[in-house]
Symmetry: C2
Subunit: 246 residues, 2 copies
């Protein structure tokens, strides 16, 4: 599968080019294209900001204008911060990357164009793209070039990411308890609580026990944590039996 | 509804505090808390980076340690870049904000804690939080403090955002054509193409016309664009009738 190019049109600050490269590498993008960047290239500020993404900067290609920078691509989206009064399709980043991934999977070459720090993309540049991508924000909308690349690259990565929404890592020393081990904890705890006089009055006992069990279940203890808890019960109940109400 | 606090633990660089404030304001967060930031406060570099979010910096509260910084909160998540070997629930940013929004809607006070630039959060700090949030990345994982706040704040905003995935803005001067206006375009275009000899051979004519209509539909033209297209047909077909094969 091809991976979309990130095309920076007339970027002004090396720091932002470096931040863009770093953002891209975090999220699996690698084809960086620079259309007429300001100042000399390579740029030392870009290198300082790229940190471990120096390889993307070294592989970056320079172009004199946007037309030549995107000439080999099949599908191109242009990022803009605001409506431009052009009747063009406007996509959220999530929808844009969904379409980019579909097109890439079919072998299309794709790219996302970002305008410069001062004015964004010119209307003439936008007219070369298939559609516009706008990052949704509150009424206060102030996203810089590096941040815009970061958010779009993040969405690109998420669109194929398999990370479970929630997980608990159980390493080899952190296995889950069996039900029997959990029942042993319940029996131990409930016996000590009963002896200590905590489960009082007797007609509330059943409900109290069920509430305690529910909070233990909710904690999703590992086997080791069950054992630790039993050790804590032993330690706390030691010598206490003398002061219980029997 | 309450809005989650962003808690920066021992931030080292004013730039990142400013970037965090700016990221927060873009995405509807406003409660910024700083646990023992390095250097003097207020910080001029933070102010320079915050741009239009100076009000968030001014409203930021300082705390001596994380415990006091999150003491009033009900639900707290800690961001980490890597697994820490602790058996703690690990959430994606999307799942974390889903839970934060649910809790906030029920009146809970919430917060997200971010560690400092060098080492992230200490294990002892993580032990004060309900769960951990880790931003999914490629094998190359290098997200700075300001970027981490940006991505989590972005997800917070998206979790209640109503922006349609794709839209075409039709202003008052860009209304959609009626079917009749579109049929008039088809009739005009097909008549001129027929007269010009383009719709040849006759047995392919129906399929050609249907393919042309499909591409016009796909363009989802406005009324004005339909009129412009008809003007273009008039201009192109002017005087051409003399060279057609009839």
């Amino acid at each position: 599968m091809t991976v979309p190019a990130v095309v920076l049109s007339h970027p002004q600050l090396g720091e932002n080019i470096g931040a863009a490269a770093r953002a891209m590498k975090n999220f699996g993008l690698r084809d960086l294209r620079l259309v007429n960047p300001r100042g000399a290239w390579p740029n030392s500020k870009a290198q300082a900001m790229a940190v471990g993404a120096a390889d993307l900067l070294e592989g970056a290609r320079l172009f004199a204008d946007l037309k030549s920078g995107i000439g080999d691509l099949n599908l191109v989206y242009a990022t803009t911060a605001r409506e431009r009064g052009v009747t063009k399709e406007v996509l959220t980043p999530k929808e844009a990357v969904r379409r980019l991934r579909l097109a890439s999977a079919r072998g299309a070459t794709c790219g996302i164009v970002f305008g410069n720090e001062r004015a964004g993309l010119e209307n003439d540049e936008i007219s070369l793209a298939d559609a516009v991508v706008t990052i949704p924000t509150s009424d206060f909308s102030s996203i810089n070039l590096g941040q815009a690349v970061l958010l779009v690259a993040y969405e690109w990565f998420l669109s194929a990411d398999q990370t479970p929404a929630a997980r608990i890592e159980h390493g080899p020393v952190h296995r889950m308890p069996t039900r029997t081990e959990l029942f042993q904890l319940f029996e131990h705890l409930e016996r000590e609580l009963l002896e200590s006089g905590f489960l009082f009055p007797p007609d509330k006992r059943g409900a109290m026990i069920r509430a305690i069990r529910a909070s233990v279940h909710r904690a999703r203890l590992t086997y080791q944590e069950v054992q630790t808890l039993r050790g804590m019960i032993v330690a706390l109940s030691k010598g206490k039996h003398r002061v219980t109400r029997t």
